[in-house]
């Protein structure tokens, strides 16, 4: 295998991993606050269609990304209002949000099917971005660098900042956090909003970078992989980064192995790998429950302040 192939495989892996990483990062923060939002796929689709529509009208991909984040946040706020203010069941509401997102995005996107926009590509000078070797570092859309930055930022936020600790406290024991005066609902709203924004930008990565077009259900189930990834990573941002690239690599190598003519295992098996890996990790986590790396204790439990 020569180095050109190696570099293009690497770049394809980055392309496949980035949106999963972004969506999973958002969901990680949401789950750390004790909320389970299964609507990632729906929010991604809403982000994807909004990003595409705004870019196609305004001609500015940056505006498109911004709009995608806002749209994702708004969708998440519907979920927030139902589950946090009205204490609706989070699982059911999350699933409903996905179904809603699929429907809404195809309705909004109807007029944009069959159109295309300029790809939201590397902002580095062509000498770097198209260099035969250096493109492995500089040849990506700004969204890719943003995803790496956000991983570090989220890790730092959760580990070393006061608001981060409060968020984790809310997720571990909502009643204790409430009794020492933190606004459980407020913190969870903020987390859900963040999750929506990240899902929105993850969605528009598909419609603006990977395949610059809009088509119904463009994300084709990647939101579910992002959800699985959060569990796979045992709610740790560092592992999330590794996991995202591992999932991305599995998805890409599957294709390359087949294209190169190796067929060691059935393609269906490779396609199921991310999910199998997640089940395996879940099983492992539950085997060593005492180690303290498992799910936030208050995950998916509705909280009603007892005032």
């Amino acid at each position: 295998m020569n180095e050109t192939i190696f570099i293009s495989i690497l770049m394809t892996v980055v392309g496949a991993s980035t949106p999963i990483l972004l969506a999973a990062l958002g969901e990680l923060v949401v789950e750390k606050s004790g909320v389970l939002n299964l609507g990632v796929e729906g929010m991604m689709l809403i982000g994807a269609v909004t990003g595409f529509a705004v870019t196609s009208v305004s001609g500015s991909p940056l505006l498109g990304v911004l709009a995608a984040m806002i749209a994702g946040t708004l969708a998440a706020m519907i979920f927030g209002y139902l589950t946090l203010s009205l204490t609706a069941n989070q699982v059911a509401t999350g699933l409903a949000l996905t179904i809603f997102g699929i429907g809404l995005s195809s309705l909004v996107g109807e007029g944009y099917v069959g159109k295309t926009v300029d790809i939201f590509d590397s902002i580095f000078p062509a000498a770097l971005a198209e260099h035969s070797f250096l493109r492995v570092l500089f040849g990506y859309s700004p969204v890719v660098y943003f995803s790496i930055f956000m991983t570090v930022a989220v890790a730092w936020f959760l580990k070393s900042t006061r608001p981060g600790l409060i968020l984790r406290a809310v997720g571990e024991s909502d009643s204790s956090a409430h009794s020492i005066g933190y606004s459980v609902i407020g913190v969870r709203y903020a987390a859900v909003a963040f999750g929506g924004a990240m899902a929105g930008i993850a969605g528009c990565y598909y419609s603006l970078v990977l395949t610059p077009m809009w088509a119904e259900q463009l994300t084709a189930g990647r939101g579910w992989i992002a959800l699985a990834l959060v569990v796979f990573a045992a709610w740790r941002p560092g592992r999330l980064l590794l996991g995202a690239y591992l999932f991305g690599a599995v998805m890409t190598f599957e294709l390359h192995a087949k294209a190169a003519g190796f067929s060691l295992v059935a393609p269906e098996f490779l396609a199921a790998m991310p999910y199998l890996a997640t089940i395996l990790v879940l099983a492992l986590i539950s085997l060593r429950k005492s180690s303290g790396s498992q799910a936030p204790a208050s995950l998916a439990k509705p909280f009603k302040p007892s005032t």
Binding site: I5, I9, V113, M213, A215, K258
Partner: protein
């Protein structure tokens, strides 16, 4: 697209009774009610879009003699049965179900509604009131193959395929055989993505195939994502289902377009004449059910002429996409020189010709 209640059926029956001379039955008085069940949205620019164009042709041809209803985005499976049953209940007399996965649901409903006529696309099950129809897509693939044989510099094509059903296998083989008539060493590298529609995976598959040496991409999946990947890399590709050149003006060489309208017009005419009967139709380019979309200007004139010649030979019957001799990719001779594969062999095709790597 009105929903017919029991009361309105009674009413129209009463109306017919008062005008006994207008027609032979209650329904013959009004326009023929026809329904279409679509897999995707009309705007998918591929499969469903092509069927919708066929319906538009019907409306243009028959005007107010017919009344059509459509249901989009119907998932294959139990949901389809519910939709089809409702359409039958609502008084539609002819129902086109336009995807392979609607076969069993259509058959079930057809057994319940003996007076309603059903037409199912791309399946193999039939009933007295359920016909099946399909197009010989592989003929168009042969035209693409001729172009690919001339245009490819590496002599390797990438082929993004959905599922290994005969229809897809025929396409891969026809494409490869035609390309090998131009370049005997031509190879087709097939990548199965196990989906009809997954834009991100289709794009990544195109990239993987390109990295493995392909410089021209054909696809049997529905999104234009692979075309976009080729556009970005400055390579070439063929559209699927309908002209997709708006997504990749430079890369898009041509596409096979499905002109279902010719079939729909014939079948609706048969219902109006009372001559409709069940059966299987497998039409090809000579019947006008398949067309090639406009050739890209980057295809040199002599290559365009060669492609037109392939097409003309298929249409006038002097050439067949599966003319012998055909050797499979395990070296076995599948067909001797001087004949071509029968439809029965094509329907059961589960092997690949020499030069296909899958």
């Amino acid at each position: 697209m009105a929903f017919i209640t029991r009361r309105s059926i009674i009413k129209s029956a009463a109306a017919a009774a008062t005008l006994p001379l207008v027609g032979t039955g209650a329904w013959a008085a009004g326009p023929l009610k026809i329904a279409f069940v679509y897999l995707g949205p009309i705007g998918d620019h591929g499969w469903t879009y092509a069927h919708e164009q066929g319906r538009q042709d019907l409306i243009k041809h028959f005007g107010n003699k017919i009344e059509t209803t459509i249901v989009e985005n119907v998932a294959e499976g139990p949901d389809a049965e519910r939709v089809i049953r409702n359409l039958a209940k609502q008084g539609n007399e002819l129902i086109f179900t336009t995807s392979f996965g609607y076969m069993n649901p259509t058959l079930k409903v057809a057994k319940r509604f003996k007076k309603v006529k059903f037409e199912h696309a791309t399946g193999y099950q039939r009933a007295k009131n359920m016909a099946s129809y399909n197009a010989r897509f592989y003929e168009g693939r042969a035209v693409c193959g001729t172009i690919a044989g001339h245009m490819s510099k590496s002599g390797v094509a990438g082929y993004i395929a959905s599922f290994p059903i005969p229809e897809v296998v025929q396409g891969i083989n026809a494409f490869t055989l035609a390309a090998q008539k131009v370049n005997p060493d031509f190879k087709t590298n097939v990548l199965w993505v196990s989906s009809w529609y997954d834009p991100a995976k289709e794009a990544d598959s195109a990239k993987a195939l390109i990295d493995q040496g392909a410089d021209i991409i054909a696809q049997h999946t529905d999104s234009p994502a692979a075309l976009q990947a080729c556009e970005q890399r400055g390579l070439m590709a063929f559209g699927q289902g309908w002209d997709m050149s708006s997504f990749a003006p430079k890369a898009h060489l041509t596409a096979i377009q499905n002109k279902w309208g010719v079939y729909y017009i014939k079948r609706v005419q048969a219902v109006l004449d009372g001559s409709w009967s069940s059966g299987d139709s497998w039409w090809g380019m000579k019947d006008g059910i398949l067309e090639m979309s406009a050739f890209n200007d980057r295809i040199p004139a002599d290559v365009q002429a060669a492609a037109r010649a392939t097409q003309a030979a298929i249409i006038d019957g002097s050439g067949h996409a599966f003319d012998g001799p055909i050797i499979d990719n395990e070296g076995k001779e599948r067909l001797a020189a001087g004949s071509h594969l029968s439809d029965k062999d094509l329907h059961a095709m589960d092997w690949y010709v020499k030069g296909v790597q899958s």
